[in-house]
Amino acid sequence: MNTAENQSERQQYLTFRLGEEIFAVDVTQVREILDLIPITRVPQMPEFMLGVINLRGSVVPVINLRRKFRMEQVENTRESCIIVLEIQLEGEQLVIGALADSVQEVLELGEEQIEPAPRIGTRLNTEFIRGMGKKEDDFLIILDIDRVFSSDELARVQDVGELAEEG
Amino acid sequence: MKRIMTVDDSATVRQMVGFTLKDAGYEVVEAEDGVDALEKLKKTPVHMLITDLNMPRLDGVGLIREVRKDPANRFIPIIMLTTESQESKKLEGKQAGASGWIVKPFKPEQLLGVVKMVLV
């Protein structure tokens, strides 16, 4: 009984790698993981919006997280993959893909293993970070993936879009 | 405008028929009995005749026979006003050349229905 109670407080996270850093997202938001498939670029969009893919008949946008987090760009490898996520945006559910260098594993973390995001020491906008997890010697950056695509962020996307329109 | 003659010795019936037809847009000529009717017909040709059967001087059947003799009136519709008990009179009238009949008492709309039916 005791263990069951403990587990109910624990959550599962999918971890993936961008460069040297390990990120984690709530596994309930992950729909599936795809091998890299051709992405169709959509013109006039900001660079971190990579384009769209065909996910069994649906057109799904793919985001380049490296660009989004202003990390340096690298060539895709055989390990590169697209994590398909379900996010909430202005009360609507949206399916998007996120390009990752490689997917690591699914692990469980208890609340006690998560610390609040540091105010400094990360290049990331701390708004995107739900907390920091620790696994063995590695730090995990747990993302608040809805925030990454929050309306503020999208407003910026629109601005860029409008700038592009005006050329 | 179509002109209709109504023949009846009862002023009430004449008036009721007259009102109804005038309201419906017909011109109405009234006659008190068969003789009066024949005289008026000489001066005023009509498109249709509505006649009572029981009348003094010349009754309805007699009037119909006379009217049909005049080539000008051979084909005009003639409607008899009858009562339920006048079955035999009705047949007589038909043989004399009546086009149809209305059983008294009748409602204005019944009268109009018949008039509209026969007055093509």
Binding site: I37, P38, T40, R41, V42, P43, Q44, M45, M49, G51, V52, I53, N54, G57, S58, V59, V60, P61, L89, E92, L94, I96, F149, L154, V157, Q158, G161, E162, E165, E166, G167 | F19, T20, D23, A24, G25, M48, R68, R74, F75, I76, P77, I78, K94, G97, A98, S99, G100, W101, K107, P108, E109, L112, M117, V118, L119, V120
Partner: protein, 695 residues
């Protein structure tokens, strides 16, 4: 708890009430049209009758009151007036509420009582008592007679019938009033002119009558002549599963022909009618008459079966079906593409078969979703009527092309924009009756609503004959609002389209009807979201015309697949006129300006490679696809044209909602995504860009 009889009545009455509304509105336009009055009377009569049968006593009683009034109208006792029509429309709405069971029943009763009183004031005084006395038996009578039956009526009048003042025409006219009637005169007995007696009746008649009035009503027509007439009335069956009688059988049944003669002729195997006439067995008018009967029976059978074989389907199911078809089309494209490289002929055959079936399926499914736009049109009649009352303007709505078919979704989403445009026409477009008379126009204004097919598009027009738009006033306002530069030289069309801008309104006064300048931009947005365009034409003093051009369907289009630097794009094929080659010398010759010669005409073109900032190897020879966009020819330069493509339209989703120049995406045979170009949007964007560069 649901009662099938009540439900059936609800359904039936919904249609009847719609017809009633339309009838009343038509009557407002032509106040002495007996046909319309008759129709209204019949509708009320049916509601009264079947309402009583279904247990809607209140509905039945109230319908009777309205019917009584229209009986007067039908009999010519009462003139149709505007007040009468308004009261009747109100009564119609109350009937609907009663049937739909809306609102508090005690309130409805009170309302019904008041309306009844109001209606009774229309009665000509002399008839009042007669009518109220008639109530009860009339209701009973109508209960028995609601189903339509088909009758064959043959009558031959006595030759001297004219001498009884009987005109056969009145008999026929009476019968025609009972229902749908076909009349065939048998003229074989008319003698030659020498023997002809003008006072004799030689003709006899066959009638095929479809009526709900019943046998007694038919017999009543002949009441005055029954002694002077051979009359035969037979009911004809038109059951679904029964074949209509063959011509020969009809003639035998009618007694025109003996069955032996029929058998003899049948054995010769020719066209029976011709043969019978040839052999002098029957007259040709008998044959014609029998043929009419056969035709009518067939028609009724068809109507019957049409009634039973249609089913109602939730529109979500259709949406799902369209989605599935979309995927099937995509998968089929992949199959074809994969098979193309194969040599195995059996596989190729199967693939071709699948392709054929898919396309047939696609057309059928899209076709199911197509509905005539007329149902929407008829709703607007009421709108126009109500608005003209409210605004004190006299307006008639004329509609054309109600049968034009359009995707259901499009029709649904078009409703609000059309309401807005019509309101706008009546409120701002049309002048008051006095103003119109001063201007030498008929005091009644006209709003003309029309729909017409044009290729893969439907064009819907809302047109008024009002004051029109003042281009100069629009220009001033546009400059004042900063929408256009002060020195701009815009054509009238561009100036007119300013009223589609948010917050732009030239109406001087604000009315409850058209709001405050909001709305026209919403109309434009909605039309554009349907991948349509809106154009305005106007002549000052003569009127304004809004044309909405919409694609027939939203789901699947024929596309032209093009490639630029490895990226695929789809253009709607319906806009494409031709493709020409563009070599680099032509580009140089044009001194950097993007113009091509197309058979003597100079056409501007947009180089999509530059416009979309696509890099990658440049081909030797580029191609320009010439398209027609909003009446003008524009070219789009691409690397090469791949070919035609069945394009299942997919939304790009929320993240791309502000994207311009691209209307959606589709999935290609190889599973990758191609973007669908919004050609009109692109050409506008390019034009703006060029102006900004040159400015």
């Amino acid at each position: 708890m649901s009662d099938p009889v009540r439900d059936a009545f609800r359904e039936e009455s919904a249609e009847l009430l719609l017809d009633l509304e339309n009838g009343l509105l038509e009557l407002a336009e032509s106040q002495d049209d007996d046909e319309i009055i008759g129709r209204i009377f019949r509708i009320l009569h049916t509601i009264k009758g079947s309402g009583g049968m279904a247990g809607f006593e209140d509905v039945s009683a109230f319908a009777h009151e309205i019917e009584a009034i229209f009986e007067e109208v039908r009999n010519g006792h009462l003139e149709v007036s505007r007040e009468l029509l308004n009261q009747t429309l109100a009564a119609r709405d109350l009937l609907k509420a009663m049937i739909d069971d809306e609102g508090e029943s005690s309130l409805r009763q009170e309302e019904a009582r008041q309306l009844t009183e109001a209606l009774r004031t229309f009665f000509p005084q002399t008839n009042e008592t007669a009518i109220s006395a008639e109530v009860s038996d009339d209701v009973v009578e109508s209960r028995e007679e609601t189903t339509e039956r088909l009758y064959r009526i043959r009558f031959r009048l006595a030759p001297d019938i004219f001498c009884k003042g009987v005109n056969p025409l009145y008999l026929i006219r009476e019968l025609k009033q009972l229902g749908r009637c076909r009349v065939i005169a048998q003229v074989d007995e008319i003698p030659t002119l020498q023997e002809f007696d003008a006072e004799q009746c030689y003709v006899c008649w066959d009638l095929i009558l479809l009526t709900s009035a019943g046998l007694n009503a038919i017999r009543d027509v002949f009441i005055f002549v029954e002694d002077d007439c051979e009359l035969q009335i037979d009911e004809l069956s038109f059951d679904d599963d029964e074949d209509p009688n063959r011509l020969g059988e009809i003639l035998v049944e009618r007694g025109d022909l003996s069955s032996d003669d029929l058998q003899a002729v049948l054995s010769e195997r020719h066209k029976i009618g011709e043969l019978l006439v040839e052999k002098n067995l029957v007259s040709s008018s008998s044959v014609d008459s029998a043929l009419v009967e056969q035709e009518e029976v067939r028609l009724q059978q068809k109507r019957n079966s049409a009634g039973t074989s249609s089913i109602r389907v939730r529109s979500e199911k259709l949406d799902l079906l369209v989605d599935l078809i979309g995927e099937l089309v995509t998968v089929q494209a992949r199959l074809s593409q994969n098979v193309a490289g194969q040599t195995e002929s059996e596989l190729c055959n199967i693939s071709e078969e699948v392709e054929r079936l898919t396309w047939a399926l696609r057309d059928q499914v899209l076709n199911i979703r197509m509905l005539p736009i007329g149902t929407t049109f008829s709703k607007f009649k009421r709108l126009v009527h109500d608005l003209s009352q409210e605004l004190g303007k006299s307006v008639q709505l004329v509609t054309d092309g109600a049968e034009t078919e359009l995707d259901k979704t499009v029709i649904d989403r078009l409703h609000d924009p059309l309401v807005h445009l019509i309101r706008n026409c009546i409120d701002h477009g049309l002048e008051s009756p006095q103003q119109r008379q001063t201007a030498g126009k008929p005091s009644m204004g006209t709003v003309h609503l029309s729909a017409i097919h044009a290729g893969a598009y439907v064009i819907i027009k809302v047109e008024d004959d009002g004051i029109g738009l003042d281009a100069e006033a629009l220009r001033e306002k546009g400059i004042a609002m900063g929408l256009i530069p002060a020195n701009s030289e815009l054509g009238d069309k561009e100036l007119f389209s300013l009223i589609l801008q948010p917050g732009f309104s030239t109406a001087k006064s604000v009315t409850s009807v058209s709001g405050r300048g909001v709305g026209m931009d919403v109309v434009r947005q909605e039309v554009e979201s349907l991948r349509g365009t809106i154009e305005i034409e106007s002549r000052e003093g003569a009127g304004t015309c809004f044309s909405i051009k919409l694609p027939l369907t939203l789901a699947i289009i024929d596309g032209l697949l093009v490639n630029i630097g490895g990226d695929n794009f789809v253009m709607p094929l319906s806009a494409v006129e031709e493709c020409i080659e563009l070599d680099h010398r032509t580009v140089e010759k044009a001194h950097g300006r993007n113009l091509v010669h197309v058979r003597g005409e100079i056409v501007p073109y947009v180089r999509l490679r530059d416009f979309f900032e696509i890099h990658g190897p440049l081909p030797e020879l580029e191609q320009v696809v010439i398209v027609e966009v909003e009446g003008e020819r524009v070219g789009f330069a691409v690397d090469y044209v791949v070919g035609e493509h069945q394009t299942v339209i997919k939304a790009l989703g929320k993240l791309y909602r502000h994207l311009q120049g691209i209307s959606g995406a589709t999935i290609l045979g190889d599973g990758t995504v191609a973007l669908i170009l919004d050609l009109a949007g692109l050409s506008k964007l390019a034009e703006r860009e060029e102006k900004e560069l040159s400015a």
